[in-house]
């Protein structure tokens, strides 16, 4: 051990959304708080400045904001008997790095899960009978209720600066919002963003079909805004560079725009970049943790950072990896279905229709990450699982996010991929296409999990995280159901031509095309230490001064983008740490 740093009250591992939330909430309690960030420092100025930021090659195609697989990656296999291979170059998911983490390069779509998603297993059992679940399904209830989480969702939405139209305020259904959302205590802090033509066309078609369209809720400022930490946002100019980019306009919610500058002003808060945590250190009796050991990339040495309280606030996959390499909690074994760390990994299933309109102009470069209109008529609360033969649901959305031609160039099926036919195709169809997407839930299964790879090591000689995942027939049935329901809506819009992109029976997980970065589970929250890593306050069952944030706490994936839930859970945990744990440190359950 080359160096030991002065003890802190709290050490946060990772400085993205949950690190920033925990940082400011615990610094406000007067604690000495340190955030350790693996990546570099970055802020709107100078890192996200116009015009250098809106460079499709550097950021959209070569992934300049993402963690390089050369530094950190995972191995992936589709089944227990396949050999896992490294995810060598980026494709299906994009893991961020640096201050702000994934919160800098996201699209901004912000949701609260639907009401049935919190007590999913009980809901299914009571309403349809346990028999509708497949035998290998390992889904379970969240150990907290929506009502308990509601104030924390509300707070996160107000801190992050979310634009949207409420559909249910304290049980009162509001025209124009999502009538199927769980009741909220207040409106969104900003009105919904205006939509481009594709979203409006979908809204009208969905309405004509008897569905209930509402503007997509997102962390994109529709007006000037100031939050409780006096952090400010400016109205978005629809530049069409959200996902994979930092926002140069202070318009997209991020840890930088919402929290970090306020946090940096606090004398009892410190953050260190290029400081990669290698493991959490346990006390000799194993009942608490003593701090973390990190690699200081500036000095090239390992550093022990003692702390009274350790909170893992890295990306979902990194939090799980740290628990495994630190030997905290029993690793999950799919053969015996015992153990907990790595259990219930889940992803997200997406599909959709692309519609081409020869004579209409969509100006696809005008967009935001949370553009357009959605429907929740096929959300998880609204599906009869017994009748339809699957468990899950999806929200649909139409709203162009970008028209960057290097990676967003939809062409009608049959267009050649090169040559004269391709060149003619891009001239004819760029700007004349739109899409409708279904964003679906993924359940947890015995065979889908995370553990340590037996072969491949990372640059610190730690075993890599190994992911075992494939498309399950339940999700294929769900996405095929969405296709069947979406087809008539798409047809009713009378496109010149249209084509579908939904996964079919037998589809194998393909790591090459970008799909989604919504990786969930692995250190799930629950009521029973035999099936969860964390109790209802996201506190480790094994070491009471260790808390773990992130989408890795989800028992199964919801049908939504995870950030709203991740933020809400962080505020929920922060409140219980502040009010209950700090005065008397102990297992809270």
């Amino acid at each position: 051990m080359a160096r030991t740093e002065k003890k802190k009250d709290v050490v946060l591992v990772g400085f993205g959304w949950t690190g920033a939330i925990m940082g400011i909430e615990l610094a406000n309690e007067g604690l000495e708080v340190l955030a350790l960030e693996r990546g570099h420092d970055q802020d709107t100025v100078p890192n996200f400045q116009y015009p250098e930021m809106i460079d499709e090659l550097k950021y959209g195609i070569r992934y300049g904001m993402m963690e390089k697989p050369a530094n950190t990656t995972v191995t992936i296999r589709r089944s227990l008997d396949e050999e896992a291979l490294p995810y060598r170059s980026l494709g299906t998911f994009l893991l961020g790095t640096g201050v702000g983490g994934a919160g800098t390069h996201w699209n901004g779509l912000n949701w609260r899960p639907m009401q049935s998603e919190y007590k999913l297993k009980s809901y299914i059992t009571e309403k349809f009978g346990a028999g509708v679940m497949t035998e290998d399904m390992t889904i379970q209830d969240y150990p907290m209720t929506y009502e308990e989480l509601e104030p924390h969702f509300d707070r996160f939405e107000k801190v992050a600066g979310i634009s949207g139209t409420a559909g249910n305020v304290n049980g009162k259904i509001i025209e124009g919002g999502n009538p199927f959302e769980a009741p909220r205590s207040d409106e969104y802090p900003m009105p919904a963003m205006p939509s481009t033509w594709d979203g409006v066309k979908f809204r009208d078609a969905a309405k004509a079909a008897g569905y209930h369209p509402f503007p997509s809720p997102g962390g994109i400022a529709s007006k000037d805004y100031k939050n409780e930490y006096n952090m400010q946002m400016g109205p978005c100019n629809h530049c069409g560079f959200c996902e994979r980019y930092g926002c140069y306009n202070y318009s997209k919610s991020s840890p930088q725009t919402a929290i970090i500058d306020a946090l940096k002003r606090k004398k009892n808060f410190e953050y260190r970049v290029n400081s990669e945590v290698l493991r959490v250190e346990k006390s000799t009796d194993g009942k608490t943790v003593t701090g973390v050991t990190y690699f200081d990339h500036k000095t090239g040495e390992e550093v022990f950072q003692p702390a009274d309280l350790v909170i893992l606030t890295a990306f979902a996959l990194n939090n799980v990896h740290l628990m495994l390499v630190s030997g905290i909690g029993q690793p999950y074994d799919p053969n015996t279905n015992e153990g907990v760390v790595g259990r219930n990994y889940a992803y997200q299933i997406t599909g959709g229709y692309t519609l081409f309109f020869k004579d209409e102009n969509f100006n696809p470069f005008i967009g935001t990450g949370a553009n357009g209109f959605c429907i929740d008529d096929f959300g998880i609360d609204n599906i009869d699982f017994a009748k339809e033969g699957f468990i899950g649901g999806a929200y649909w959305r139409a709203g162009q996010t970008n028209g960057q031609p290097g990676h967003t160039m939809p062409l009608p099926a049959g267009t050649p991929s090169w040559g004269a036919g391709w060149k003619k195709g891009i001239g004819e169809w760029y700007g004349h296409a739109m899409s409708i997407g279904a964003h679906g839930s993924v359940m947890s299964y015995r065979g889908h999990y995370l553990d340590l790879d037996p072969t491949y090591k990372d640059r610190h000689d730690r075993p890599m995280l190994r992911m075992t995942y494939n498309w399950h027939p339940n999700e294929i049935r769900q996405t095929q159901f969405m296709k069947q329901k979406m087809e008539p809506v798409a047809k009713s819009m009378n496109p010149t031509t249209m084509q579908e992109g939904f996964k079919k029976e037998g589809a194998m997980f393909d790591v090459r095309p970008y799909q989604t970065t919504h990786n969930t589970g692995g250190t799930v929250t629950g009521d029973d230490p035999k099936t969860s890593v964390l109790n209802r306050y996201l506190q480790s069952w094994d070491c009471h001064n260790l808390f773990v944030m992130g989408a890795n706490t989800f028992p199964q994936n919801t049908q939504y983008n995870p950030t709203g839930m991740v933020g809400g859970l962080a505020y929920w945990a922060a409140e219980h740490i502040r009010k209950d744990y700090l005065p008397n440190p102990r297992p809270l359950v």
Partner: protein, 233 residues
Amino acid sequence: MRDLPGLPSRRGFLKASAATAAIAGIASHAKAEQKPEPVALTEYKPDCLKPSEWAFVMAAVARLIPSDGEGPGAIETRVPVFIDKQLAGDYGKASDWYMVGPYQPAASPLRGWQTPLNPLETYQQAIPVFDEWCKQTHGKIFAELDPATQDKALTSLQKDEMKIKPELREFFSILLANTKEGYFSDPMYGGNHGMAAWKYIGFPGARGSYKEWVGKHNVKYPLGPVSISGERG
């Protein structure tokens, strides 16, 4: 208001402001002087490609995005320069990728890049293999074939009719991807010369400000592209 001769006019000032506003935020790059024409492709000294490789890339991209018909081709947009520069840099070396063995290049393609070769090595090793195949099948190396036979040969490469070894399996897909990247990327990377590809399809490049056009539904956006360095088209 009438402009007075010899004096800076208010109207002139307003006109200038409106023009500045229309190019939305490019103020710091507004100089946009006419750039000198770059060196001809035939005179270009590649950063990393050897003469035979350069000849192949020139010939291949000319078929992947041909010059005839509407819209610019890969040659006028200087895609070969882009490819040479990319292969000479971090991309060519796979500097960002996890390139530690053991490797399984014959694994299912769904499992991503699994060859031990980086993109530059893939070009370097695949071009002679493909040229040799062209010679045996069509009598000449690729660059010397007529365009119709070149199209046939590229189709065979795309369909892997020559059963190229698995280490080189991704060659056609990166060649095509790099060609399109060069066509559509900001001109500062060497391709998309004169923003010609952006003008052809109607992408405004780095303009990045459309608040006034969000609500103009189904109305074609009127302004041409700007580049990151301030070129205007």
